[in-house]
């Protein structure tokens, strides 16, 4: 088992998520991309924990999951609220704040 592959996969997923955040316009999709980024980190953490031979990384992954979940809750709440007032979840529609 080569840990590098996992790390590469993780980096790839992270990049996909990052690119997704930058190019997608729907708030929910952007949000999902962020979650993808967080979870790719989990993959990294677990892989590193494996390499290290300790469980620290796995424990950290737990915490990351918690944070991701909390983010989901808050994020959904915010997106929902804007969705209700605007009937749209596209970021492009949120354009009042421009200079």
């Amino acid at each position: 088992m080569t840990p590098e592959y996992y790390l590469l996969l993780s980096a790839l997923l992270f990049s996909i998520g990052a690119v997704g955040v930058l190019v997608r316009r729907n708030a929910i999709v952007v949000f999902m991309c962020i979650e993808l980024m967080l979870n790719s980190v989990n993959l990294s953490l677990v892989t590193f924990a494996r390499i290290e031979g300790t469980l620290d990384g796995q424990v950290m992954a737990f915490f990351v999951m918690v944070v991701a979940a909390a983010e989901v809750v808050v994020g959904l709440a915010i997106i929902m609220s804007i969705f209700r007032t605007r009937r749209s979840a596209s970021i492009d529609d949120t354009n009042l704040l421009k200079y």
């Binding site: 708030a27 962020i34 980190v41 944070v67 983010e71 959904l76 970021i91 949120t94």
Partner: protein
């Protein structure tokens, strides 16, 4: 197979005395949530305000009681996850003081009848991280700018108080976090309530919600970067403790790619929180869209927290490899100052303008952070204290200038304000001068100490650039002064609402501290220079 041959674990030692301020704040936040649940609506505001203020005062007292006897080297507690050392204590004090004042500002409800926050927020229940919208109370007023809320008389949304306390607890943990994981958790604990708070404005709901979404998406994006950096550093050092990372960086045969990639990503996350250019994209929008009191809280306290953490990360974790990253921070500092100073020139909205000012100030702070010297540490922390009070008071003043549609933040409606209310105009001028860094204000002393430290470390070109950008930025501060004093009052322009006691206290406190630190900064400098990081 779990449980086989498990040796008994000794419980980690916890220095409760040292941690007491944080514990009080977080405990009060939890109590606040419960109060929200059980206290009848008409009592909530007073109860919440009392509890929050008492908690902050209590935390302050606990801090004050701990400081004289605190070990000079600081202590690390909770399995070394928290380092409560001199900088942490100073920043805690700063945060507590700032949020006490900010909380008063948030609690104000005479300026905007019923308070600045929606009473039927779509975000309501999400306060408790559970997210509940009672569907029996459909939101009819939501999204209609300026539509007079029928339920205005029913008071403001008091969830804002526990949210503030949670954010504050996160910030306090953030600046004391001795390992990156704790730091990450604290980062989220401080960010998530802030995201929500941004969306709670009673007026201009769309703007407010939009700012919340933007802040949230970009904030989460940045924290993902921070997290990935954390993972890579874990891979590099086998630990996320800052001290271990420093040790590993000092002598490790592992791939430096991990170290520097990890460091870069980590710092991006931190810079984002500190609204440092070029990671500032959210700042103007969020500052403008969020309720002004929240903006004030955010501008003051988040900056303290972000830079406090940045100081710790760089000083403790990465001092040894500073030659690798200083160049990058050079660029970052310059970009931030340039963005803040130059783009600020084009702003017509006072809140946006202060936002750009905060970006410029972030650039100055980065210079302080880069020094990596004791004097730089003290200087940066002093700057944070000074800037926090000034900007908080500035936003409090902004919240007073209103027209028929609520806050009038457009510069044009500020014309001739000095004629209508010379006192407020004078105070705001003073605060703007402090932001510009005119002597006899705390802003100047802050700049002075930071630049002294930077020159001492040979960052002369950067300092000169910073001074030039200060002058550029002074232009837009002056423009406000010009509009207020030298322009004729516009018909239908804004007028100054008579502030309630709370806002008065906020403005007074901010102004007095700004003046005090400008005239007699010695004591604060002494606190800030009390000692270095423990690790």
């Amino acid at each position: 197979m779990f449980g086989a041959q498990v040796t008994a674990l000794s419980p980690p030692s916890v220095d409760y005395t040292a941690m007491l301020p944080v514990l009080i704040v977080l405990g009060a936040a939890a109590v606040g949530v419960l109060l929200e649940a059980f206290v009848p609506r008409h009592l909530r505001w007073s109860v919440q305000v009392t509890v929050s203020l008492v908690a902050l005062a209590g935390a302050g007292i606990a801090l004050g009681a701990y400081v004289p006897g605190a070990p000079a080297q600081g202590v690390t507690t909770m399995v070394d996850t928290l380092a409560i050392d001199a900088p942490a204590l100073f920043l805690w004090g700063t945060l507590l003081a700032l949020s006490f004042v900010a909380l008063l500002f948030i609690a104000e409800r005479t300026v905007e009848p019923g308070g600045a926050f929606v009473s039927q927020a779509a975000l309501r229940g999400a306060a408790g991280a559970g997210g509940s919208v009672s569907t029996r109370e459909p939101e009819t007023t939501g999204g209609r700018d300026g539509a007079a809320p029928a339920d205005g008389a029913r008071g403001m949304q008091t969830e804002i108080f526990p949210l503030t306390l949670f954010a504050l607890g996160g910030m306090m943990t953030f600046v004391a976090a001795n390992d990156l994981l704790t730091m990450f958790i604290a980062l989220e604990v401080l960010s998530l309530p802030l995201y929500l708070m941004c969306g709670l404005a009673r007026r201009r709901r769309l703007l407010s919600q939009e700012s919340a979404v933007k802040y949230f998406l970009l904030g989460a994006f940045a924290s993902a970067f921070f997290l990935y950096g954390l993972a890579l550093l874990y891979g590099y050092a086998g630990s996320v403790r800052l001290g271990d990372i420093a040790t590993a960086a000092a002598g490790s045969d592992r791939s430096d790619t991990l170290l520097f990639a990890g460091f870069g990503l980590l710092v991006v996350g931190l810079l984002f929180k500190g609204s440092v250019g070029p990671f500032h994209a959210w700042t103007p929008d969020v500052y403008q869209g969020a309720p002004t009191s929240v903006t004030g809280f955010m501008a003051a306290c988040t900056k303290v927290a972000a830079f406090g953490a940045m100081l710790r990360v760089l000083y403790v974790g990465f001092e040894g490899v500073s030659w690798e990253w200083r160049g990058i921070l050079w660029a970052v500092a310059i970009v931030s100052m340039a963005v803040g100073a130059v783009l600020g020139l084009t702003q017509r909205d006072v809140k946006r303008m202060i936002a750009y000012s905060s970006i410029a100030h972030a650039g100055f702070l980065v210079i302080g952070v880069m020094t990596l010297s004791d004097s730089g540490l003290a200087a940066t922390m002093f700057y944070l204290l000074a800037y926090g009070f000034t900007t908080l008071a500035a936003f409090a003043v902004v919240s007073l200038v209103r027209d028929a549609d609520g806050e009038a933040t457009d510069l044009s409606s500020w014309a001739g304000l000095a004629k209508r209310s010379p006192l407020i105009a004078g105070v705001f001028t003073f605060l703007l001068l402090a932001l510009a860094g005119i002597p006899l204000t705390s802003g100047f002393v802050g700049k002075f100490v930071v630049f002294s430290a930077a020159l001492g470390e040979g960052l002369a070109p950067l300092v000169v650039l910073a001074l030039v950008f200060s002058a550029v930025a002074a232009f837009y501060y002056l423009r406000v002064v010009v509009v207020m004093y030298f322009s004729e009052p516009a018909a239908g322009g804004a007028s100054v609402t008579v502030p309630g006691a709370f806002t008065t206290v906020t403005i007074a406190a901010g102004t007095i501290v700004t003046l005090l630190l400008g005239i007699y900064p010695g004591f604060a400098l002494e606190w800030a220079g009390a000692g270095g990081f423990a690790f």
